[in-house]
């Protein structure tokens, strides 16, 4: 195969190359540090200040060059993606030889020898990939720009850029992959990157614990997904998307073959469930959702990367990619569900509602967003479960934009609050001079996550043990709209989009489409549709409510602390690089929704979708012909529901938190309404962390040490061996004793041999080198004797066969 740069089939190979090269160059060449005392202010606030120790801090030129290298990589990826996307649209417009679904950009290489055949790795650009290529590189680019400013004071910014470059490279690999194995490669490398980045401030116990938790939790799902991949490979002999999901024959074969285990399912059903479990881990669905909120320990650009552009989107993307495999054998639009579809509908809707209830009781600005992410991903999974393929993809894209925006805006808020904290410190009027206020705050929040940091005695807080001011706690904020206006406006846009504010936000259109699909099935009396519709409508209401709560607590009213009063992004490069991405993403958070408006929608439908829904007309060619959905007739009822839940939730939130903003130290009104015990349960995330630690983590640690190692290996196996050794030693000793005292002098030859036997056995305990040498010599003699004996017998044996 010859690479030809002008051939569009080879272009996709180059998309991940830029960031990956960036990773290699930064890691090997440009990441250079110098040593400075750990007490220096240049060694940022996230790191302990070790007394009198020198620590490495990235040099200025290394910082600058690494940023340039990283940026070049992602810009290159973005430009090539644009070229590929343009090409794909062109191809689609022509319609020559079918639409893009049949006539894709693809090329592949021999990668792994499997007997007489080869497993091929390749790239593929079909409508789904095209859509992802619009979103992923752009979101990554924004995150990169944002990281210039956000990490500007971090002593390891070069390492940070190398890791996010690898992260972006892995995500892009996943998107252009033409087979499940390459997708899995990107998937796992991203897992590594998220582990490295969540634990980026690796001195912090809370950070490395979160990193380990993220990696381990997703790995539970990944090993099961690996089984799914292996099974699919075993059953079809290929993992190529084109040969599986584009091939009705293969799909039919999978749907009609019974599974090797769990006999009730078809092969497609079991493979499907295995793959879905992979996504349950990666996209933090119930019950493997626990890692994602903790992942907030990483720097905020990482949160944006994990929760919007990459990682969690990758999970949903994989589901969308493999969707035909889940649907085959059923017809969700006619009420016939396969096991994977039901599984997705159940998991998705439960997750959507469950996570939304937790989000209402969180005070950490990023944790609210984390739970909202889990909930929104639940929307997508549930949508796939009822066959709303287009709507799920649409929501994936809009969500990526507004959630990346929200995370970066919240990062700006945190940055602003840290700035305020510095300001307060510099001017000496310490906010912590009012202990009563904080004591009350802690009473209201008994399970404050930051307490974890104090459990490790060796970890020394920068402020020498005093409770550290938490710049992420919304109770410390308020009134930020005045000092951080751009952040406020963009956060507001993102928040409204998340809440599904009608008509003008992208989130409204995508969420509405899911509800419309669910409603349609509900009217036909299909169970899963009904479940999905009710759960998602409730979740959407809660979403609007907690979004309003977050906006009000953070930006409205008066500052509740000194820090909040002085919060700002400052000026210069930091402020500019952190603000620009917010503005760009805000544009997408509004306008991305207009490509998916139902043609029957009053007024807007006629304007925006005169020839059918553009998004759908493009994307549907990813599915084989018999699975392509028809456009549902416009139905006013789900739209009305969308209106009611969004406006109702926002309104209720504003009534509670906006009209009469919380004063400093005032408890959350929600506590009274929900009753403290319910609120505490929600606040502690239904105690899932505690449950998992008690049920899985502790027992596995105990079993590893005490059963697998000490009992089985040291106790049973080695105990048995030592017993044998001891018995032989005793026999040897006993015989030697007999020899010395009883039989000595009677028979010379035999006791001599017996004694020698005991002597040889005894070297187990003595261990002198001469004895080993002697043993070797004896062995050699034994070998020779056996040979000599057997040589005599061999002549007879040779003749017989």
């Amino acid at each position: 195969m010859n690479f030809n740069i002008n051939d569009p089939n080879f272009l996709p190979w180059l998309i991940p190359v830029g960031p990956l090269l960036g990773f290699v160059i930064i890691t090997l060449l440009t990441n250079r540090s110098r040593l400075i005392p750990a007490t220096s202010p240049q060694y940022g606030g996230h790191h302990p200040d070790y007394d009198g120790m020198l620590v490495p801090v990235v040099t200025n030129w290394s910082r600058a060059v690494s940023i340039i290298v990283g940026m070049s990589g992602i810009v290159m990826a973005w430009l090539i993606s644009l070229a590929v996307v343009g090409n794909a649209f062109g191809l689609n417009a022509d319609g020559i030889g079918g639409k893009l679904g049949q006539d894709v950009h693809a090329s592949a290489l021999d990668w792994m020898a499997t007997g007489l055949t080869q497993f091929r790795m390749g790239v593929l650009v079909d409508p789904l990939t095209t859509i992802m290529l619009i979103m992923v590189p752009l979101a990554c680019l924004m995150i990169f720009i944002y990281s210039i400013g956000y990490m500007a004071n971090d002593p390891r910014q070069a390492r940070f850029f190398s890791l996010i470059a690898l992260f972006a490279g892995a995500m892009l690999t996943l998107v252009v992959a033409d087979n499940l194995l390459l997708l899995f490669v990107g998937w796992e490398v991203m897992g590594l990157c998220s582990y490295m980045l969540i634990g980026f401030w690796f001195e912090k116990p809370s950070a490395y614990k979160a990193a380990i938790k993220a990696f381990t939790t997703t790995r539970i799902a990944d090993v099961i997904m690996l089984l799914g991949i292996a099974y699919l490979f075993a059953e079809t002999g290929t993992l190529s998307f084109r040969e599986i999901v584009y091939n009705a024959e293969v799909l039919e074969h999978l749907a009609t073959t019974p599974a090797v285990i769990f006999g009730g399912l078809s092969a497609a059903g079991l493979i499907g469930i295995f793959l879905i479990i992979g996504t349950v881990g990666k996209s933090a669905q119930f019950p493997l959702h626990v890692w994602l909120p903790d992942a907030m320990e990483g720097p905020t650009p990482v949160s944006a990367m994990i929760h919007a552009a990459a990682m969690v989107s990758a999970g949903i993307y994989a589901l969308i990619r493999m969707y035909p495999l889940f649907e085959i054998g059923g017809h969700p639009h006619d009420g016939e569900f396969t096991a994977p579809l039901m599984f997705m509908a159940l998991v998705g809707s439960v997750t959507a509602l469950f996570a939304a209830t937790i989000a209402v009781a969180q005070n950490d600005v990023k944790k609210v967003l984390a739970y909202s992410t889990i909930s929104q991903l639940g929307f997508m999974v549930a949508a796939l479960g009822i066959g709303a393929y287009i709507a799920a993809t649409f929501h994936l894209i809009t969500h990526a934009f507004f959630k990346a925006l929200l995370f970066m805006a919240s990062g700006a808020v945190i940055h602003g609050m840290e700035h305020g904290e510095h300001h307060v410190h510099a001017h000496g009027d310490h906010a912590h001079d009012e202990p009563a206020e904080h004591a009350e705050d802690h009473d209201a929040a008994p399970a404050e996550h930051r307490h974890d940091e104090h459990t490790d005695a060796t970890y020394r807080e920068p402020e020498g043990g005093a409770p550290r001011f938490d710049p992420q706690d919304m109770m410390n904020m308020g009134g930020l709209r005045k000092t951080m206006p751009v952040t406020f406006i963009t956060f507001l846009i993102g928040g409204l989009s998340l809440a599904g504010f009608p008509l003008i936000t992208a989130g409204f259109w995508s969420k509405d489409e899911i509800l419309a699909d669910a409603w349609h099935g509900l009217t036909e009396g299909f169970g899963p549709h009904t479940l999905v519709f009710i759960f998602l409508a409730l979740a959407a209401f809660l979403t609007a409510f907690y979004t309003a709560r977050q906006l009000c607590l953070t930006f409205l009213g008066e500052p509740r602390t000194e820090e909040a009063k002085h919060a700002s992004l400052g000026e210069g490069i930091v402020s500019a690089t952190m603000t620009l991405p917010l503005i760009i993403l805000a544009v997408f958070a509004i306008f991305a929704g207009f490509v998916g408006v139902n043609p029957g929608f009053p007024i807007l439908g006629g304007i925006l979708s005169p020839n059918g829904i553009p998004f759908k007309e493009f994307l549907k060619y990813t599915l084989i012909a018999e699975m392509q959905p028809s456009t549902l007739a416009f139905d006013a009822f789900p739209v009305l529901v969308s209106f009611i839940v969004a406006l109702g939730g926002l309104g209720l939130g504003y009534m509670m938190y906006g009209r009469k903003p919380l004063a400093a130290g005032e408890p959350d009104p929600l506590i009274k309404i929900l009753s403290p015990s319910v609120h505490t349960t929600l606040r502690n995330k239904y105690y899932f962390d505690e449950l998992y630690i008690a049920a899985f983590v502790k027992p596995s640690q105990w079993v590893s040490r005490n059963v697998a190692y000490l009992f089985i290996d040291k106790g049973v196996i080695d105990g048995f061996l030592h017993l044998i050794a001891r018995v032989f030693t005793w026999i040897g000793d006993f015989l030697k004793m007999m020899n010395t005292w009883l039989i000595d002098g009677l028979l010379d030859g035999v006791p001599e041999l017996v004694a020698r036997f005991g002597f040889i056995i005894r070297w187990i305990q003595t261990g002198r080198i001469q004895q080993y040498l002697l043993l070797v010599a004896v062995m050699a003699i034994v070998i020779a004797v056996v040979f000599a004996l057997s040589a005599g017998g061999s002549s007879a044996a040779v003749g017989t066969p």
């Binding site: 001195e203 490395y208 285990i261 590893s704 697998a708 040779v798």
Partner: protein, 534 residues
């Protein structure tokens, strides 16, 4: 190909031994001994690499075959040659030995002897991998034991006497049975030639031969058991593995590297070369265990699964870093055994019935097993190197004593994470390719065992992350404030080739897999021809 008038494979076997003898005769000067050993092993490594690349995958049978008379009274001969499997093992040995020698520069006492033992060890390894005669195989197989015993016993850690003795007795225990097995097979069949035995030995039935009056089925069963236990100890297959954590953790760094890197492969190689081809009928004969009917292949797969799972658990339960890495070998070699169990089953079916429903799975599983041998060689050697590097500087193996070292050792930290990830089986690095192939191959044959083995794969993540966390993460332990912790240039040079190979093999495995695949496919698909085309 000949070198100084000797064929290249014989040269590979004898050159390290000659170099070792020369080292013993050289003056007792550390510098000279180190440089000489490094030079010799590097040249030999280069030749080993040349042999690998000279192997032509297009004709996947034995190549570079030499047969010369030797010990004719026993019908044994100097019969050597390589196929794709041995070629890759020779490459691994050739690569790892100079790196181990380089790491051994940290040895200060009796340098000449130490280096000579490493080279003797290499000679033994090459001998096993080129052997096409069972006597030669056995001879060199035993020969590897002695140098390694002295390396552990003389240069090892605090508990070295116990570890070395345990290692020696375990191995000797296996070898005695193997010696018996070699005799039973060789004498009964009248030849020690492995290819010939693969053809005739399995066809022996009722009246074809006896040994000291024993019926042939008994002879076969005894010989099978002798081989099986010997190789199971070496691999190690659960529950024959408890020598390994002691030997590995007490051995000096270079010893651990070679022990884990290549010596364990002797066991797996023995299964592939001898036990699978010689005993197809025994592998799939019914075995009744308390009313549960299975066969030896099934038992082997079950033990392999236990190795994967319990090895991972035991590794997760360690606080000693070298022990953790040592147990990771039990875990990883479990995948090799799992792959080989599939090979054994499919080979036997092919041999007996002329066809096997699992042929494609078995080819993939066997490819995976051999790849895993190679990959584990790279990653375990790398892990031991890194564990040794930090032990050498802190003089403790207790992971709870480390903590936050990444601050002061950023390069070491990066390399540690990279190598750990290769060991963990991160896609994109080498370990994943082989583990995936084994899982894929075993899935169709031993579905439930594969499912349970996934628990082991999960805990592989657990112990790897535990290791990284203990060494690198967390607040810096100020006890090490004035220590030099960063990786030394010599150590870096030693691990760099391993890292490059891990990455290349992960990204494009075909550079070595094509060679392995050709021979594996040949062996498995021609099993029916060997049996006379039944």
């Amino acid at each position: 190909m000949t070198i100084v008038g000797i064929d290249v494979l014989s040269f590979l076997v004898f050159a390290p031994a000659v170099a070792a003898l020369a080292l013993l005769l050289l003056p007792q000067n550390r510098l000279i001994a180190r440089v000489a050993a490094l030079g010799a092993s590097a040249v030999i490594g280069g030749i080993a690499a040349a042999v690998f690349f000279a192997y032509n995958a297009a004709s996947p049978d034995f190549q570079m075959v030499i047969q010369a008379p030797w010990f004719t009274v026993l019908n044994a001969s100097w019969h050597i040659g390589i196929d794709g499997i041995s070629a890759s093992m020779i490459l691994l040995t050739g690569v790892l030995t100079p790196l181990a020698v380089l790491i051994s520069f940290e040895v200060e006492e009796r340098v000449n002897t130490h280096m000579a033992l490493l080279l003797f060890f290499q000679a033994g390894l090459f001998g096993v991998f080129v052997a096409m005669d069972m006597m030669i195989f056995f001879l060199f197989y035993e020969l590897t034991l002695v140098p390694m015993f002295f390396i552990i016993d003389q240069w090892g850690g605090p508990n070295r006497k116990y570890a070395a003795t345990k290692f020696f007795i375990y191995s000797m225990g296996g070898s005695l049975g193997m010696l018996l097995a070699v005799q039973l097979v060789g004498v009964t069949a009248g030849t020690f030639s492995i290819p010939e035995l693969a053809q005739i030995w399995p066809t022996f039935t009722g009246t074809d031969g006896t040994f000291l009056g024993l019926p042939i089925q008994t002879v076969k069963a005894l010989a099978f058991l002798g081989f099986f236990i010997a190789f199971a100890i070496k691999v190690p297959v659960w529950p024959f593995h408890t020598w390994l954590p002691d030997a590995h953790s007490e051995a000096p760094t270079a010893g651990s590297m070679l022990l884990a890197g290549v010596m364990l492969k002797l066991g797996a190689y023995g299964f592939l070369r001898l036990v699978i081809p010689l005993f197809p009928d025994v592998w799939i004969a019914d075995v009744n265990i308390l009313g549960f009917v299975t066969n030896w292949a099934g038992i082997f797969a079950f033990l392999a699964m236990l190795g994967v799972v319990l090895g991972a658990f035991a590794a997760f339960g360690q606080t000693d870093i070298k022990r953790l890495v040592a147990y990771s070998s039990v875990n990883h070699m479990g995948f090799v055994a799992m792959g080989l169990a599939v090979t054994a089953l499919a080979y036997a079916q092919q041999w007996l019935h002329g066809t096997s429903a699992h042929m494609q799975s078995a080819i993939i599983a066997t490819n995976g097993a051999v790849m895993q041998m190679f990959n584990h060689g790279l990653s375990s050697a790398g892990m031991f190197l890194l564990a040794g590097a930090i032990y050498h500087k802190t003089h403790t193996r207790d992971m709870t004593q480390y903590g936050g070292l990444w601050v002061r050792a950023p390069i070491y930290g990066g390399i540690f994470i990279f190598t750990s990830m290769a060991s963990l089986g991160l896609p994109g690095l080498n370990g994943f390719v082989s583990e995936f192939m084994v899982v894929r191959g075993a899935w169709s044959v031993y579905t439930w065992l594969t499912v349970i083995a996934m628990i082991g794969l999960l805990f592989t993540g657990g112990y790897i992350l535990k290791g990284i966390r203990a060494v690198l993460h967390g607040p810096f332990n100020l006890h090490w404030r004035d220590y030099h912790l960063e990786i030394e240039l010599r150590e870096f040079i030693a691990i760099a080739p391993l890292m490059v190979l891990m990455l290349i093999t992960g990204l494009a495995p075909n550079w070595i897999l094509n060679v392995i695949n050709a021979s594996v496919t040949h062996i498995l698909t021609t099993a029916s021809i060997l049996s006379g085309g039944m």
